[in-house]
Chain length 356, copies 2
């Protein structure tokens, strides 16, 4: 005789995760979620995992861990020009994980669900004898045929980047006690990336659900780099402007290398043009290579045909997302060359972060 009492696992899911469930999730009480795509849209899907001690630190606040897990996946949707739809998540945690951890983790997710207009569709909660290990699959949609791909950069296109580069890598150094961070800006950039969905979707920043003010790191103003100011033309989605896009997760140099290989082109970068935050500049020149090769930026790298640079500037201004032109794609080997103000090549170590 049984069925009256539910074991602790189900009570935990009901308490913390069911409130995150949205349309199609069937209250997380069925074997799967069911949802229809809007007519004329294609599905865009990506998955990323985060392991305690590898992707986040044991004393990172659980709410920020939840947000980062969601945002690194939303950044992949932004890079494809896709609008978010919902997510599935598996959570493996030690048995002794306190209820307060789940409460704070779920509260962070709830805040970002409201911010980005999405909800939880399903998943799995399990124990592990190892570190907390999180996996999230994001679902989004694009207009049929309208996804932005990596493989579109051509010689003559310019290289653009959103936001500032290297803050997250420096933030990790801060949290590891290797660098000072008087304002807390660098640590915040490590812990909480800002997926560039507003720019990707051609929305004004305030039209993203829950977004009411400029992000803290919007220090580099659009238009400062020789491009035309707001011309009053209609806003475009990123897919209508750029020829290729990738989000920077493994490191600026490595991910630019991915764009080069995918497009069969090289890239020439002006090291001085790469946008650094005030805090990163304050860290000093010794940290420049860390900025250019460290991971976790979750900014977008863009290949932009010359005739569409004004449209990019307009869209960036409307979205409240800073963009900077930093170099150009060239014919030749698919490699990245960075030069200083005198034209001399900077020596950057190959590659970025690898797990093996």
């Amino acid at each position: 005789m049984s069925g009256g009492e539910l074991p602790a696992e189900f009570a935990l899911i009901a308490r913390h995760f069911r409130p995150l469930a949205g349309p199609g999730a069937l209250d997380l009480a069925d074997d799967a979620a069911v949802l229809a795509l809007p007519p004329g849209r294609e599905l865009v899907v990506a998955a990323d995992a985060m392991v305690e001690g590898v992707h986040f630190l044991p004393d990172d606040p659980p709410g920020l861990v939840g947000k980062k897990l969601l945002r690194v996946n939303l950044s992949d949707l932004a890079a494809m020009g896709a609008a978010p739809l919902g997510y599935l998540m598996t959570v493996a945690v030690p048995r002794q994980t306190p209820d307060t951890w789940f409460a704070a983790f779920a509260a962070g997710l709830a805040e970002d669900q409201a911010r980005y207009g999405i909800s939880l569709l399903g998943g799995d909660t399990t124990s592990t004898p190892g570190p907390t290990t999180l996996s999230l699959t994001i679902l989004g949609t694009v207009a049929a045929g309208g996804a932005i791909r990596r493989a579109g950069a051509r010689p003559g296109h310019s290289v653009w980047v959103t936001g500032t580069i290297g803050d997250a890598a420096l933030g990790l150094a801060v949290l590891q006690g290797r660098l000072d961070d008087p304002t807390g800006f660098l640590a915040a950039r490590y812990r909480l990336p800002e997926p560039r969905l507003g720019l990707a979707l051609g929305r004004t920043q305030s039209s993203l659900p829950g977004v009411t003010r400029q992000s803290r790191d919007a220090r580099v103003e659009p238009g400062h780099n020789g491009i035309e100011p707001d011309s009053g033309q209609p806003k475009s989605t990123l897919a209508e402007i750029v020829a290729a896009c990738i989000d920077i997760s493994d490191g600026f140099v490595q991910d630019l290398g991915h764009l080069c290989r995918a497009g069969g082109v090289g890239a020439e970068i002006s090291g001085d043009a790469v946008p650094l935050s005030e805090a990163a500049r304050a860290a000093g020149a010794d940290w420049l290579v860390t900025c250019l090769t460290g991971g976790d930026d979750y900014e977008l790298l863009l290949a932009v045909p010359p005739e569409r640079e004004a449209a990019l500037a307009h869209a960036a201004r409307a979205a409240g997302v800073p963009v900077t032109r930093i170099g150009r794609f060239v014919a030749g080997e698919p490699k990245v060359v960075a030069r200083d103000a005198d034209g001399a090549p900077l020596h950057l170590p190959a590659g970025g972060w690898s797990h093996f």
Copy 2:
């Protein structure tokens, strides 16, 4: 200067996982996969995680671990009556994991991809200081409005189950050295579940890609339980036959309890009618409670209106999946009562497996 050499992580993905990628996966070389749903179909999505030492054993063959990861998720699709479309997977493994582990793991997945007609759409590979932790998100489709739900059981419906119950729980005992298994049948049932997709989709068994013979555990013949033999009527999908369905992952009693709670009904089970394999019967009566409450069966529990029992028998015969009627749903409290041949209640511990 960089971009020429790819770090080991990318080489590993290219070597082992790219060959698994299918249409829409963009060779796993973009930020996300893009795919269109067939017209008139809705998306069905589920995710499950598996942790070494919790869901599989350190010396389980990697190919079987890969197959089990895929199949526990396919079982969720079967329970919803959904046809599989593809999957995303995140893999967290210790740094010293040998290349042969990846090769064997991917080979197992490749075999099952061919068997079930699906492919890899995306994912993430990372290191962990803990045990190997795998997460898989399965995507499938159903006709719009055609998903089978848990919440359809009504008083007077009969309780049916596919296959045999408890083999996997006994198989775990075998692998832990607590039980003998002369034929290896029980350990095989633990390591390699058989998602009941053929029955779910109204297909003959041989029409599933790669399926050419009866599964080893098809010992219980359809029609042995007083139901009509094959009447020659057209095959139906499970969604056209059953009122509710769940797959048995947490244990027979607990998952039947889920069907009861979702439908607001009780269930009365004849303990003697619950189908046990020859190997489970040979283990003896002391193991009966383990069979009824242990997890990992991945059989389907069905609520069947009386007038559709013949259609179920027909569909089961066509699919080569044994089905057995074991009791009925009744009005009253949402609890499970099992009785022996004399009508006396069997005393079953409440609940099944919980991680917390």
